[in-house]
Symmetry: D2
């Protein structure tokens, strides 16, 4: 899979190129992009030949200072109504703080996200970047165990909706 | 309970008065208030004699237009780390759209909210205000049924953490 | 004159009271208030009996960190088209930095502001609050000298427009 | 001159390429970029061989709806303190409204901008894009006449500062 980062969401030349790449694309929402602009970028990739696009909410830039960005989980719910494309949530960049990654991941699953993009590092203190928001492997496994019942719930709801 | 609305969060005279009111206070976060300012307002009520304060996240004002406000659910998780006060989420004012209330309510429960503040109306089309974000009674009951397993999950986790 | 601070712009009880006060009112824009909301607050004061209201732009809260707030000078120009009420600019709270007060004051005059609200302190380092944004008396006088030709220009333009 | 648009400010490959282009570069601030990020992008161009960079403030995205964006004129004053690079203001994209272009242009000159980037069209109603913010040629000439005394004032101040 090719990731188009938040800073590249408006890069039409890149979007056209990944439209021809023949591989799934993960498209991250730009820092102050509207939901409509995110969908337009996905459409542009599709118009260039690739409709295998996964969207990713990674937090928008607001006045808040406790979290690195503001995770727009209602925007994820809106995307689920507006498009059939899968939607991921990146709780690491959204919050910028390790301790907030598990609760925001639970909320992302509950709001209807199709997946998570979580930063890990064997030794976060030694990370060259983003160490403050990286989980250790143990923390990641513990989080995944706590997420399982939420994932199960969503799966049951989807089965019930589909039948 | 007395509700201090978002537009009154900075009203020190009112905060002092409700601090002397002898009843529980629900304090809504102002439209562009930081988490620190919300906590300071709660402290000010407590300093005036009333520590029975419930905080409420009701969405912050950002550039987004699909939702009425941006619901800061990571802020709720942060509040849970910073204070022992209960925290509600208002998915109605946060989103401004009826169809987004159930998924955002699920996410609020999952992120650790202690309760929800949901607008209902027997006939939303006839509501004098906020009709677009109001659930009918049937929609509310259906939402509550779908929330129950999430509430149960959180309850189990809290029991597990406490023991 | 009575000043209604930014944190009180939504305080309807206060707005009604100053509407009955029989004195000019300076109404500061709240931190995330729209231009429409500022005008609605002024209308509410007028509806309570006092149309002698002066509006004040004091910066809105955005993601920026170099300035304390973001001074919305285009909003001042918009206000001049939407209302006959005088409009002040507060370059001190807008920027939070002494060195930015003179250039933002010049811009405020040029954009069409009817006045400035500038913080001064005989010894800013000893100020109990807002010292970083306060001018000394000497700095204030120097700034006023540099503003004079801009004020003259605006006066000439107004005379030309009126004739 | 080559213009790097707001949506390309974070495009490192493009910044590196224009760094090798041997022509002056106009670099527009991205929609939610900080002043620091704008300067970092200019530094990156310089590090690739081209220090002939002109910065451009074109409005940041906020919650405001009367103007298309919020023109950060205090940010222009801050840039003048932080860098020797020239700084332009784009009053057209900042405001999105023709009638606001002249007052914001005056303010830009007064705050210390080194130039303006103004949209014009012989028949704005027929413009394929951005017609609402485009001046006619007549409106442009009228605006330039009204700007002249402000430009003269700034020139005198610069001469006085330099001597």
């Amino acid at each position: 899979m090719i990731q188009v980062g938040a800073r590249s969401m408006y890069n039409d030349a890149l979007l056209a190129a990944v439209g021809r790449a023949g591989r799934p694309i993960m498209l991250k929402r730009a820092m102050a992009a509207s939901i409509e602009e995110l969908l337009a970028a996905a459409d542009f990739i599709a118009a260039n030949g690739n409709s295998d696009v996964i969207l990713c909410e990674r937090g928008i830039r607001t006045y808040g200072r406790i979290t690195r960005n503001t995770c727009d989980l209602a925007g994820v719910a809106a995307l689920n109504l507006l498009t059939r494309l899968p939607v991921l949530v990146d709780p690491s960049h959204s919050t910028g703080q390790r301790v907030l990654v598990p609760p925001v991941s639970r909320a992302a699953v509950a709001v209807g996200a199709d997946g998570l993009l979580v930063e890990m590092h064997p030794e976060p203190r030694r990370a060259l970047s983003d160490g403050l928001q990286s989980l250790t492997f143990d923390e990641f496994h513990e989080m995944m165990r706590s997420l399982e019942p939420y994932i199960d719930l969503r799966r049951q709801e989807r089965v019930a909706t589909a039948t």
